[in-house]
Symmetry: C2
Subunit: 316 residues, 2 copies
């Protein structure tokens, strides 16, 4: 039968990316096509099935070698049942993804939420390869996360383990409201959205900053300005880093992971961000807990989702 | 051979408590004797061996039924090796506890730190019985803790998982130094030491409080004053509860445990403390993460240590 391979599906609102991995998490081949969200769940699931078949057909591997299929999806779900309760960005409610895909493809299908799956990808064969206990942050529009314990995604009682963006870290009097309804969540300051908001506010109140010349400020503009020494931009990145570092220090006396991995668009800020995160982590983390612990950038980029999804059948 | 039983050893600075448990964590019999710390590690370990033999001799169980022995010890240790690197309160450095006790007793011996062992006791057959994922706080002189995942103690990379007293939770400008060298640790406000300090400071600055009449303020005096409506005492307990509740809210988006268990002397404050902890937990915890999650008092009291120690051979 030959080597076993695993298929991962990264189901996004506009594109579906599928990938083939070996048993070590090496990404062998990918294929991408439109999601077709507007046509409803039935069409989207048929698209997934077609892309998966195409992926394997165009690869040097036989269909029989596919030992399992995994999918990362944004939304609320019953993971053991493979059932999507609600996915706002796909417009889905009560979709039995596992059941339908297993019928279409004749293989075991596992699903998990997209942030957990990306964390598993990095932990398995990315920045956490070889390390059993890691905590991953994804700094994008929001702040997502994933907790990997003994090489597996840790879900927690309500599946909310690793929802790091909703740790309340900003002191009450400086806290603003988060999308979740609480105030002072990490996501309000350390996401791209938070960084852009802080930059716009600084421009509006007339701070002396090069960002005033930028028409539609993006997080990258703030990083670029910081690299030229712009004080407003530096202060904003410092603030984003402060609360990331503080949240990692807190996690160090709860879980004491060996490594923190930081990915997502905001992590592209590079050393200027990571140096600041490490500075604050060192300031707030208990001495013994931080010995030998490092904070590193994610390395798989957009592939983390397909790799982690492929890994669901090996690590759950 | 009959039913299997397990021996737990709670090694304190002044007394050694040993107990016999069945495989369900029911404490069947206990025996207690002086530690003899002043005579050094050799004598202390011989005392443990004698008390364990006495415990079993005086019980209705045969020595052959003892399936394993566990010990909870305060200090820094190599848990798999059963080796104490440093125990300040016993004055020990580099003591191979597991090896020596196994030679003396001819049974498998496992050790772990006292806070973890107490957490395992509560999780196994105390306030967490039947619940696989719990986080325990012990509010005593300091604030200890333990993380139980899938019914087992979770150690983390440096054995610092569950060191909840050293989560930095107090805002910088209100933070005081902790024994660990950092500032603003949970332990500085939510331990008996923290509560007593806040009470003494209030008296010293002349606050109108019934605590001014107490000669040597203990934590219990603060609880008693709070129950009579003393505003200073209520404010102090509220502050201790605020940071406990906030730390639990943070843990809920990292691990999302099903239950938080709070034990130790300070937990004797009862409803006045627990109601406030729950209030702040609800204020800061993400909505989905807290569904069905509760915060309850520990129930085993001083027996948690021997029960958890007995459980080390079943849950590690």
């Amino acid at each position: 039968m030959g080597e076993r391979v695993y298929v991962g599906v990264d189901l996004g609102g506009t594109a579906i990316k599928v990938g083939l991995c070996d048993a070590q998490g090496k990404l062998l081949q990918t294929y991408e096509g439109p999601t077709g969200t507007e046509h409803g769940a039935e069409v989207v699931l048929e698209n997934i099935a077609q892309y998966v078949r195409k992926l394997v057909d165009e690869s040097p591997y036989e269909w029989e070698q596919v030992a399992g299929i995994g999918a990362g999806i944004a939304g609320f779900m019953d993971i053991p049942e493979g059932f999507i309760k609600l996915s706002p960005n796909l417009g889905w409610r009560n979709v039995p993804v596992k059941k339908i895909l297993e019928e279409k493809l004749g293989k075991t299908v596992k699903i998990d939420n997209d942030a957990n799956v990306a964390a598993l990808g990095e932990a398995w064969s990315g920045a956490g390869a070889g390390i059993p206990n890691v905590v991953c942050y994804t700094l994008g529009t929001g702040v997502g996360g994933g907790v990997i314990i003994h090489g597996r995604i840790y879900q927690g009682y309500n599946g909310m383990a690793g929802e790091l963006g909703h740790m309340v870290v900003v002191p009450d009097l400086e806290a603003i409201e988060c999308g979740c309804g609480k105030k002072g969540c990490l996501e309000t300051v350390s996401s791209a959205t938070g960084i852009i908001r802080m930059a716009k506010e600084a421009v509006e109140r007339g701070e002396h900053t090069s960002l005033a010349l930028v028409e539609n400020i993006m997080a990258k503009d703030v990083f670029d300005a910081a690299k030229t020494g712009d004080e407003t931009a530096l202060r904003i990145i410092n603030r984003a880093a402060l609360y990331l570092g503080k949240s990692m220090a807190a996690i160090s006396v709860v879980l004491n992971p060996q490594r923190f991995i930081v990915g997502g668009g905001v992590s592209k800020a590079g050393d200027i961000l990571f140096d600041a995160i490490r500075k604050y982590y060192n300031e707030y983390a208990q001495e013994t807990a931080k010995e030998g612990v490092d904070i590193v950038p994610a390395v798989l980029g957009n592939d983390a989702g397909v790799v982690g999804a492929a890994g669901l059948n090996l690590h759950s």
